[in-house]
Symmetry: C2
Subunit: 415 residues, 2 copies
Amino acid sequence: MRISTLSIGDELICGQLTDTNAGTIASLLLDGGLRIQRHLAVGDNEADIITALNDLGRISDAVIVTGGLGPTADDMTSRAAARATGRRLVINEEARNHVRFMSGKLENLIFCPLSDKQTMIPTKSALISNPCGTACGFHLMHNGCFMFFMPGVPTEMIVMLRTTVIPFLQERVVHKRVIRTTSLNLFGPCEAEVDELLAGIARPEQGLTLGICVTFPWMKVTLRAEADSDTAVADLLEPAVSTVRERLKDYCFSTGETSMDAAVAELFRDCCLTLSLAESCSGGLIAKRITDIPGSSAYFSEGVVTYSNDAKVRLLGVPTELLNSCGAVSSECAAAMSKGVRLVSGSDLGLAVTGIAGPDGGSAEKPVGTVFISLAAPDGCWTKRFHFSGNRDEVRVMTAWTALDWLRRYLLRRE
Amino acid sequence: MRISTLSIGDELICGQLTDTNAGTIASLLLDGGLRIQRHLAVGDNEADIITALNDLGRISDAVIVTGGLGPTADDMTSRAAARATGRRLVINEEARNHVRFMSGKLENLIFCPLSDKQTMIPTKSALISNPCGTACGFHLMHNGCFMFFMPGVPTEMIVMLRTTVIPFLQERVVHKRVIRTTSLNLFGPCEAEVDELLAGIARPEQGLTLGICVTFPWMKVTLRAEADSDTAVADLLEPAVSTVRERLKDYCFSTGETSMDAAVAELFRDCCLTLSLAESCSGGLIAKRITDIPGSSAYFSEGVVTYSNDAKVRLLGVPTELLNSCGAVSSECAAAMSKGVRLVSGSDLGLAVTGIAGPDGGSAEKPVGTVFISLAAPDGCWTKRFHFSGNRDEVRVMTAWTALDWLRRYLLRRE
């Protein structure tokens, strides 16, 4: 089945808003065994919408349209859909009842003449119900092509896609294909290394593909199997996933949508250890990421952002002499910070980072990007020097990722 | 001039990667007085690329293509371009020299047979030089349509667009139009309020448009003027910007790309006050945002993330009796925290937040989303209760934004 998507909105082709709907629809369809062939975006211009619907209709079995169903004047998808498919635009009683009902339900929304526009639907169309907003969607068949129209608001569109559009299309696919995807998330190796490690696993001619997607500073390896049946897909996918896992070893911190933060949180929940943090160059970023996870108060008691030397002395007990002799960005200071925060907080683990995030403050001996990470634990204290490249943001992000990965590896070793 | 963009790559239509090039190209062109009419994305499939080039070529004066110029087998844009335009694909000596030169310059890159592919360019094309990578771009004219081909890597594409594509197109525009955009960033009011405040300013029939873009939790108001000359554009735009500024008053925290964090940083640099932070529910997010800005060490000395009650007592001197009688999420505790952190750090300002970010921990009296913010300053201490809606992430983000906005308003009042 040849499927196209069409996004409508001036903000999308002016560069004001990044079109995320296209990607969302593509991956939700893929999970349902359906593949997008092309994606088009046009502005709020009736002639352009009509041309787009005609062009896509000619070369597709189904077109999924989002955007331009709102109540304001620049929303003109319904009218364009009617014109492109030779239909009239009429008041639809079902849509009218829906707009009335939702207007009552949603706060701050009054049923005003403007919303009347949302009750006008092309003739010979079926409504797509929208449990989250006023705009009804609709679908119709034109010259052998199914056309679906939905609002551009992601939360509304996703529900409508899941409950109506995908099941509708799946029922009509003649040669059903099963597609399943597994993804593994890695931190540490460079792309070339992963490429080499995973050589020979993909077998595209049999329907097994492997993709590596680099999203600074981590990577996602996606394995996708496509075949005629669930069993055939499982036979392709499962051994491949095992091989990938074996070869990647502990580079892999999670699967699917589980973030590094969530992976670390899960390990903390299992091990019953507590944590405190002393951050300098990362400025609270590690604490922020630890506390992003609900329930983190069970293992995280406190963090200090000791930006000034005075704070390092007062809050962590770092000796002034040490700061004078070795400097705040040093292995010695990092170790004193991790031990200090562990001691004053009474936590099991103390994690500390100190470094030079830039753009200023670097020297020949300690250039921008020099970072020391230290972990103080009941069974020892480890400190290491790193040199991260990139701008201030990138150095800070790499610092936080590496520190979290250290925690993850420490907790894994203890298991 | 009718201009289209075409993005090529399986990862774009599988939903693995969000296509940001489309938006980047659109806004860079708009700054240069050029407007995109439609954007298309297709996968790494030769037939689909050829159809796309033919379709877009038919209805556009120029097509800007990105992606599929890499060295691997799934990069097939050059071949498809040659086929679609009836050209041969031949080794281009200039491209060959470029690939050789860049391979020597870029680390970890060896001139291997694979890269030979990048030296094959359709006949009757001109190269677009790429100072940042191995892949040359090229452009050609087919049936009256200019077609530009560039790599998909954003940093490479942007330079090539700026130095070659935009000047080339600008020279060929017959009816030159000047387009200028000014944007103002707001925090605080709801969309309906802004809509009402800014009513009557836009005059689309004269070429002055106004757009409101909501990006949780802030908003961008964009004024765009289009006319025949710089003077005409200035005459349209400047009075409108003044009116918008007047009506929005101190809701507006910055213009253009300046973030709230940078706006606050600028005020701190001017006023010579110092700041320390005591965070509970925001878990380090405010410290992270303050230290995102280079040079923040000049006014920010320290922050504490006092997640546990024990840490509030030990690090901030919050009385245990106060915690027992009022609770950690209370106006009294927030005030004690802000005064405490101001005192122990010796900073001019102490900012504290305590609240319930959820998803658990709420009660009838203090539901999830209840947050107290307190600012202790030389001239007083102010504390306020807020109720933010949304999930854990949204409550934390709103807490940090509101706290930063408090700082901004306090520093503005002092000026």
